[in-house]
Symmetry: C2
Subunit: 440 residues, 2 copies
């Protein structure tokens, strides 16, 4: 290797431009930390004429990222193209095949092809670094892989998608609907025109799958993640959560159980006093439960050009030190296939909001079905509107009213069974809302 570490950056959006600026601005400090001069020598992007606010003169321009990846002019290929297939995948494979280190922010690529790419990196003795792929500027990959090397991890969970957390924070603070907050998020650039990937939880699932592999030494299994998004959350759920001492967050949770490893993404009630409940707006957070440290929480920016670039540059600095760690904390051959656990087997507390016909005996009917399914109720809240209470003091009209239950630990299968029975009994005016509770 030469004394200078030469970078080739593919993808010059906000993150790529930030990396260019950061490497230049922090040049002296990075050399002091790593003993090497770090410099960008070549770049690739779709549109050569676009003004990105950075000086590209003196850099070799490649129209084709694969050609950049293979180029003899670079030591490290920085992949900021995005997407699990196509150019990003071809270029990363080309770079690893040519014995270049790879630094990437691409969670989709890793979630779908992580093990295969890690194997390539291992065969060539190069680094495949991806700190930026999960939770943006939070050094969570480093914390789990290196900082907790002495620990057995039992659970990892976190707020991994800023768009969802922004929407839920605003819904809670201002009593707005999901649709209204999504529109604002789109106007502010926090959400895409097609927001499905974010709001339905798939982005969180990709990130969670990466964390799971690292935390448990298993092959990435993005398809094994049970995924539920936030589009069905209603303002009433946030109000009820508040009254009951919770906030609602979209969490990704990986949890070791006797049956295997649960991987699940869903709106979650978290106790208001927990650290993760304080995380508002586009901020991300990850909590790790581990045998030696107990609980470790990291909170920081989950997205944004500068924050993501911070993670990319941290990886580059590690590469500059000549450090090649096993991609997922251990050699690929040691990674085991994860035992999936069906959500039906998940055991935890549940928030259940039913919309029942306001008639005598409904609460008793619901409670009976829950008891039959072996579910213990921690609290039950029946709320009639002031209007209904005055116009129909006896509750004879059968108007739809909310009935909220908080359960003690129960299996998801039993909860679904009880709800089906309640439905068959004709007690429900609408489909029930089910939100899992995650305790510290």
């Amino acid at each position: 290797m030469t004394q200078t570490l030469r970078l080739g950056i593919a993808g010059l959006g906000t993150v790529g431009a930030s990396v260019l600026r950061m490497v230049a601005r922090r040049a002296e400090a990075l050399t002091a930390a790593t003993g090497r001069t770090i410099t960008v020598t070549a770049v690739s992007a779709r549109d050569r004429s676009r003004d990105r606010g950075v000086d590209l003169s003196g850099l070799h321009w490649f129209d084709d990222p694969v050609a950049l990846a293979r180029s003899g002019e670079i030591d490290v290929f920085v992949e900021l193209v995005g997407g699990s297939e196509g150019a990003a995948k071809a270029a990363v494979e080309a770079a690893l095949g040519a014995g270049k280190h790879v630094v990437t922010a691409n969670k989709a690529l890793l979630a779908h092809h992580g093990a295969a790419l890690a194997r390539m990196a291992e065969e060539r003795g190069v680094a495949l670094a991806y700190e930026a792929s999960v939770a943006g500027g939070i050094p969570v990959i480093k914390a789990i892989r290196e900082g907790l090397a002495g620990n057995d991890i039992s659970r990892v969970y976190g707020i991994l998608n800023g768009t969802c957390n922004y929407i839920l924070s605003r819904m809670e603070a201002e009593g707005l609907t999901f649709e209204a907050c999504l529109k604002d998020a789109q106007a502010l650039g926090y959400a895409e025109a097609d927001p499905t990937f974010d709001v339905e939880g798939f982005d969180t699932a990709h990130k969670l799958a990466i964390l799971t592999s690292l935390a448990y030494g298993v092959e990435i299994d993005a398809e094994g993640v049970s995924v539920e998004g936030i589009s069905a959350i209603q303002p009433l759920d946030l109000t009820m959560a508040d009254e009951l001492g919770y906030r609602i967050k979209l969490l990704g949770v990986a949890q070791a159980t006797d049956e295997g490893i649960e991987q699940r993404v869903h709106p979650t009630m978290v106790p208001k006093a927990s650290a993760i409940a304080q995380v508002m707006g586009v901020t991300n957070a990850v909590t790790v439960d581990a045998d030696a440290v107990g609980e470790l929480t990291l909170i920081g920016p989950g997205a944004g050009g500068a924050a993501t670039a911070s993670a990319v540059v941290a990886d580059i600095a590690d590469v500059a030190l000549g450090l090649v760690r096993p991609t997922f904390g251990q050699p690929v051959a040691r990674l085991t296939a994860p035992r999936r656990v069906e959500m039906q087997r998940h055991e935890g507390g549940y928030y259940i909001r039913l919309t029942v016909h306001d008639r005598t005996g409904v609460a008793a009917g619901v409670a009976t079905r829950m008891a039959e399914a072996n579910i213990s109720i921690e609290s039950i809240v029946q709320r009639r509107s002031a209007k209904a209470a005055s116009s129909d003091p006896q509750g004879l009209s059968g108007q739809p009213v909310p009935l909220v239950l908080i359960t003690y630990a129960a299996t998801e299968g039993n909860v679904r069974e009880a709800l089906a029975a309640i439905g068959r009994d004709g007690l429900l005016a609408e489909a029930p809302q089910l939100i899992r509770i995650e305790r510290e």
Copy 2:
């Protein structure tokens, strides 16, 4: 180097015993992560006969830690003796002098001799690792030195002493006095028989000095830290903080200003909704403000055998990978002497609790003196006891009553000047209480 990494552990208290157990229990995972077998070959402690609940058979016992440090049987010297001088210092110097890597949990040693020891490590090309010295099991050294390598850091602050946070948490939750909570902390083993080092802020100052060096690339300057402990905090301060939307935490704060680097340890009002305000009991937390990531917060266990051992083993794993980073993030020769900033120059918000004679015009007198010193008041709360209000409705008795002010940003010099003037006016029945406010 041999394929096996041989450890010598000096100090077999709860941390040392935990390290022994962890290295054995995680042997396979550590080998997978580092490519090397990691094993403890020799130990040293004061009392050979004590039962530590770990098997020491097969380990070479040294009565003298310095002899262990120099021994040809070890590659890494793990220093868990403690203390800034004496055996710990002699042994670490001996180990570095003999070209051994050193892993230590000793914040006092680093705070007082960090630069000299780092220079020795650098000359020999060995690692001097100290993750366990600050914030126990939280990988904060790694996060700052490696995870934020691309960032310019403007402020680092945190709850770095579990004893103080435990005492303040209990005072707040139960309305108890400092003395009562200290006694409980001592009974639970959270505080020493002589608690001065913890409760007066010196322990926090040592840890802060280490973080400052790392964050700003300056030589450690433990003597430059302005230190104030928590022994003067009264239950009334916690009540008032609560009413005003704050909690009181003992923070260590390092802040870059135009004049240099402020290093200060003091009881601090933090907004109740901030992440750091949620940190209760013996838990620690560190927040870093940096240009690219904005704000990054890490929360976790600050002490305890297993948590501290977790940090020690993480350092050992890094050493096993053959990784030698500059101790404070860059070569010692590049560390600059920090420009100290006097506390008088500190600018921020203040909580000021005066005990004034309950007479007409006192509040006006106080407000006038504040205005004369160019201090703007954000809020003012005068609270008369119910008893005083009924027995003396006109406030003619001149009974001592609390008068609490929250200021906008002001310099400490001006605040002290105003308080002196108020004292000279004869308005005060007791010495004033002054608590700095730290905003996110």
